[in-house]
Symmetry: D2
Subunit: 348 residues, 4 copies
C-alpha cells in the first residue's frame, strides 16, 4: 500500500525555483501526492505563465501559474530548488515561512564547514545552519529525518555511490573504492550551454570530472573513511546515473557474501531493489528502466580480488525530487512511499 | 477525478500473449487500474517465468508468473495480444471464456470482409465475427462501446490519422489528405530483426511504407470517403507516432476555423488535447512528451491552400493498450479514465 | 577518377566565418582537396586559436589558426560562411578580394528582390548583386556555374526538395507537390539555444515549420511554377535531411515511368544516386548513410494517384559546404568531384 | 605524407567473411587504399549479391559481388573476418593461399595456449600456429610485424586498454589498474539479437561484463604483469570504445610526469594523439569524434593517489579493420598510414 490516508487534510507545499528540471519533477510528484496540494510555485523568469508552458508534462494536470519568488507565502512545506549557492544566502529569511524546509541544492548537504570550503572553494555563507539540516538520504538518515524541520538535498551521483557502497562500508569491508559514474544530460540543468548543445552532446562518452568531483564529499560524510575515488563521464541519456563501483575489499568476498550483505541492508527499503540475474536481458541495473521512478537498483559481482557493485537511478527522482518527497513523507509521518508509486516504462 | 469507485469488487482480467510490448504495457496499466485485478497472463515461450523477467518495469510490482495459453481460465475481461492472424482463428474457442473480449491485433478492426481481403491479402478466417466487434476507438465509437462484448484494437498509426482528421472529416471539409506518419521502433514488436538491430536502426529516417499502408483502411472505415494517402517513415524513437496530415480542404480554412472545429470535437474528450502555442518550445504536439500516457495531442496551422494537422501519441498506449483499457472502462461503465492517469515525464 | 591534376599549383582559398558547422565542414573538405590550399580562416570570436580547438576533427590535420575577419587578404577563392544577412552588407567590400566568391548564406540565393522581401521580410540590402550570383546547385545551374565569379549557397532543405522534384518538374508532370522534410539538429547551427538543448532536443519529432518555410522560394525559382507546400519537422539526427515529396502528377505515372525519368535526369550526375531496391534493409534513401558525403540519394514509388519521392542528403555537405566545393570545382574547371570522394560510413 | 608510392603495382587482397561489420569496414579501407586492389570478398550467405546490398556505404564505389568462401583464390594478402573459432580450424588450408594472412578474429591473439584455454574455455584447435602469428598492435609489435607472414587481430577493448596503459606499464609504474570500458553496439556484430534489438538497446547503460572479460588476456600478454581488472559497459553508441583506466601508480605521479611519459611513448606514433586541454568542449578523448578514423586518442589527469587515463577509438577501425590495414602496411613495407587518412566528422 503506497497511498496515504485519504481523509487527512493535505499539507500545503510551495516550491521556490520551480522552472528547472528538478522543480518540474518535484511539481509532477507533488501533483500526484495524495496528501499534498501545491500552494505556490515561483520562477522569476516565468512569473505569470502557467506551469505547463515550461513543464509540458503538466498540461491539463494543473491550472497553476508561476509567481515571483517574493510572493511565496507561509505554507506547510517549502521546497527550495534554486541554483547552488542561493539557498544558503536566503535561508534566514525563508526558514520562518514553513514548518518543514527541504533544500534540493548543494548548500546544506555537508555538515562540516571546512569540508564545504574545501570542495566548493569558498566559505559557507551560513555556517550556523549546517547543523540544523539533516542530510536527505533516507537509507542513512531515516531516524534523524523523522520530525526534522530542515532537510538537505542529495547529490544525484552521491546517492548512486552511497547506495552502492553502504552495505560494504557499514561492515567495514572497503579498503579502496573507485566509482566510475555515467551520467545523463539533465544533470547539467535546463539552461542551454555549449556542452549541452544537441550536436555536441548526443551520443557522447565525454569525461566530465576525471578526478575531484564534489559529490565524493557526501559519500565520505555518510559512509566514513576509506580510500575513495570518483570519475564522472557523460553518456547518452537524458535522465539517469549509473555507478560502477570497483571495490577492493578488506577480505575476500564471494557473490554469496554480497547477497547476504545487500539483502540485510536493503530488504526492508522501499526504494532499493537488488537486481542480479543469471538469465534474461536485464541482469543488472540499468538507468533507462528507472526513468521517472524513485528506485535505486543495485547489482554486484565478485572476482578474485575485486567486487563490482552497480547502482542505477533517475537523477531527477531518487537523485533529487523523489528523495526530497520521500524525506518529506518521513519527516511528516506519512507513508514513506506516498506519491512515489510510479514503476517506470519499458521499452522506452 | 480519474479514479473509479474503490468499493467495487475488481473485475478479473486475463491477457493472452502477454510477453510482447503491447502485452507488457497492458499489464502495467491493469496493475495500476483501481477496478481490475490481473487473473492470468499467458506466454507460450515464457510460461513459468515471473512477469518481470520479460517486463523489467514490473519488478516488485507483481509476483505473477506467465502461464501457458491453454491454461487461461474463465474471467471477466479477456485481452488478446497475440500476433496478427491468431485471434481470428481462435475466437470461437476463446469467446465463451469472458464477458468482454478485447482483441489488440488487426484481426477484427475492419467490419468489411472485402476490405480485409484487399488490405491483408487473404480471406478473413472468421468473417461471421466481424460484425460483432466494435472498433476500439472511443472518439468515434463511444456509444457502441457501452455494454459491448467484443472490442477490436486500433492501428497505432490509424489512430494518429483518425484523430488528426476526425473534426475535418465529420464536417465534410476534406478534399484530399496526405498523412506523413513518423514512427518509433516499438511498432515492429519485441522480436529481434535485421531492420531493428540497433546499429541499423538507431538515428534512422527510413521509409517503411511509402504507399499502401494497411492502417489507411481503418481511417476510411471510421471517417468515410475522401482522397487519402499515407506514408510511414521510421525515425529515432522507441515509443511514439507523429502524424503530419497535409489536408487540402473543400473550402479555405483559417486557424480560427480550425480552433472552433477542433475545440468542438475534442473539448470533452478525456484523452485528446489541443496543443498549439505561439511561444515556448513545445508549440505543437511531440510524441516524446506522451511516452506512457494515453493522450493524443493535436495541433494545426493553415496556409493559403492547405491545412496541416499534427497529431502525436504513444503507439503502445493510446495506439494500443491504453485505448484497450479506455474501451474496457466504457464497455463496463467505469470512469473512462480509470487506470490511465499518467501524465508523462519531461525531460526524457 | 575524382582526383584533379596533381601538377597544378593549388588555388588559395580563404573562409570568412569559419567557426560554425558549415565553416568546419568546408575546412575539412578543402583540407582534403588536391587542388586547394587554405590561406586563411577567420572567426571574430576565436581569432588566435588553432582551428582544431573549435573543430576537433581537424586535430593533427592542420596547424592553422583563426584570424580576425578584417585580416583576410586577397586570395583565389573566398568562401563566406557568415550568419544570414551579413554577406549582403559586406559584399561590396569583399568582392574585390578574390577571383571567385562563394557565399554559403541565404543572402544571394534568390534572384528576384521581391521574392527576397516576401520570404525574408525585409528589402534586400544589395539588390544590384542578386543578378551577379549564380545559384549554387550544379544539377540545375552547371552551365552558368562554369567560369562564374559569384556563386550563392543553397538551402539544405531546398536542395533535398529540388533534387527530389527536378525530373518531374522539368517534364511538367507536377500538379501539386507536398514536401514533408525531416531534418537534424545541425541545421540550426552551432550556437546553443533552448530548442537545441540536449534534454529538449534528443529523440524529438518536433514540427519546426508547418507552413511557409523559406526554402520553398528556392524551389520555385529553380523548378518553376506548380502548387508546392513544404513542412519541416525536426527529428533525431545531427546531420541529415530527408524529403518525402508527395506528388500528384498531371497524368498517371508508374514506377517504370519514374525509373526512366530519374535515370535520364541523373545517370550522369556525379553526386545523385538512385536508391530503390525490392530487398535488403536499405531499400530507399536514408540520411544516416550519407553523413560526410556529397551524395543526394533518391528513391520513389507510385500508387494509383500519387508519386512519393524520397531524397536524402547531409545538410552540411550536399546541403552546404559540399555543394559549395562542387560549384568551385565547376567554376574553376576542376574535376567536379575533386575533394569530394568520401563515401560514408556504415554502420554509424 | 600518408600516400604510398602510386607507381607500385597494387597488391591483391581478398577478404573471407566480408559481410559483417568488420568485413565491411575493411572493404571500405581497402577500396580507398592506394596500393591495394580487392580481388575477392566472400560471404556464404550473400554469395552472388553485390557488396553494396549488405554494405550500403559502398554504393557506386565498387561493382564487386560476394563469392562463396571456397571460391577464394590465391592472392597477396588474405584477410580473415570469420566468427571467432573459425580461422583456427581452417588455417592449415588457408595459409598457403597468400603471402600475408591477417586474421581479425580472436583465434590467434594469445601466444600461450594455456592462456587461450583459460580465457576461452577450450583447448586451442591449432596450437602449433600460435607462435607464427604476430599480435597485430603496431604500437607494441611494430618491429616483429615488418615482413611477418601471419598477423592476428586485436581485441577492440584490449586496444583501448593497451594504449591507455602502455607508457605507464613500460615504465613499471602500475601497481594496480582498473579499466572501466564503455562500448557501442557494433561490438556485438551484425547478427540481430535480443540484446541488440533497438527498443532494448537504445539509450542503455548496460553492464556487459562486470568481471572476467577476455580482452584482459591481451593486455597481460602485451604489457606484462600487474594487477589488472576490467569491466565492460554498453552505452549508447554504434561505433566506439572509451576506456577509463583508473591507475594506482607505484609512486606519485603528476600531470607533468604523465605528459612526459605519454609524449615520449607516442609522439612518433601516426595514430595515437594526446588530447588534454584546459579549455574548450573537447578537453579529453571522445569516441564519437573518431568514427571512421584509425586514431586512438589519449588523455589523462592525476590526483593525489590515482592517475586516470582515458583512451578512445573506433572499435571497427583502430580496434579491428584499421589496425589490420596498418599492420599490412608495416608487414609489406608500405607507408604505415596508407589508406588510413580519414580524420573524422564533427558534429556527428
Amino acid at each position: 500500500m503506497i497511498q496515504g490516508d485519504a481523509t487527512t487534510t493535505p499539507v500545503r507545499a510551495s516550491v521556490i525555483g520551480a522552472s528547472g528540471y528538478t522543480g518540474g519533477e518535484l511539481l509532477r510528484l507533488l501533483l500526484d501526492h495524495p496528501l499534498v496540494t501545491i500552494a505556490q510555485a515561483s520562477s522569476r523568469r516565468n512569473a505569470g505563465e502557467p506551469l505547463d508552458m515550461i513543464h509540458p508534462h503538466l498540461r491539463r494536470r494543473t491550472q497553476l501559474e508561476f509567481c515571483m519568488p517574493d510572493a511565496i507565502e507561509a505554507c506547510d512545506v517549502l521546497f527550495l530548488c534554486m541554483p547552488h549557492g542561493e539557498a544558503a544566502t536566503q535561508i534566514e529569511r525563508l526558514a520562518p515561512n514553513a514548518k518543514l524546509v527541504i533544500d534540493l541544492s548543494a548548500d546544506f548537504r555537508l555538515r562540516d564547514k571546512a569540508a564545504y570550503q574545501a570542495w566548493y572553494g569558498k566559505p559557507h555563507p551560513a555556517p550556523a545552519w549546517l547543523d540544523r539540516f539533516v542530510y536527505g538520504l533516507p537509507e542513512t538518515q531515516r531516524e534523524r529525518l523523522r520530525g526534522s524541520r530542515f532537510v538537505s538535498g542529495v547529490g544525484c551521483n552521491a546517492t548512486a555511490m552511497n547506495l552502492a557502497l553502504l552495505p560494504l562500508a557499514r561492515a567495514g569491508l572497503i579498503e579502496r573504492a573507485i566509482c566510475d559514474v555515467k551520467v545523463g544530460s539533465s544533470e547539467a540543468g535546463a539552461e542551454p550551454s555549449a556542452g549541452g548543445h544537441h550536436p555536441e552532446r548526443v551520443g557522447r562518452v565525454r569525461p566530465f570530472a576525471l578526478t575531484r568531483h564534489r559529490h565524493q564529499a557526501e559519500v565520505r560524510q555518510e559512509l566514513g573513511d576509506f580510500a575513495l575515488s570518483a570519475t564522472i563521464t557523460s553518456v547518452e541519456l537524458v535522465r539517469g546515473v549509473q555507478c560502477t563501483a570497483h571495490v577492493f575489499p578488506t577480505r575476500p568476498l564471494t557473490d554469496k557474501d554480497l547477497w547476504k550483505l545487500y539483502r540485510d541492508a536493503y530488504s526492508s527499503e522501499p526504494f532499493v531493489r537488488l537486481v542480479k540475474s543469471r538469465t534474461g536481458l536485464h541482469r543488472f541495473p540499468e538507468p533507462k528502466l528507472l526513468s521517472g521512478t524513485n528506485f535505486c537498483d543495485i547489482g554486484f559481482e565478485a572476482d578474485e580480488s575485486r567486487v563490482v557493485i552497480v547502482s542505477a537511478l533517475d537523477n531527477l527522482v531518487k537523485g533529487a525530487a523523489g528523495s526530497a518527497v520521500q524525506c518529506m513523507n518521513i519527516a511528516l509521518g506519512f507513508d514513506e512511499a506516498a506519491g512515489l508509486g510510479f514503476y517506470g516504462l519499458h521499452p522506452l
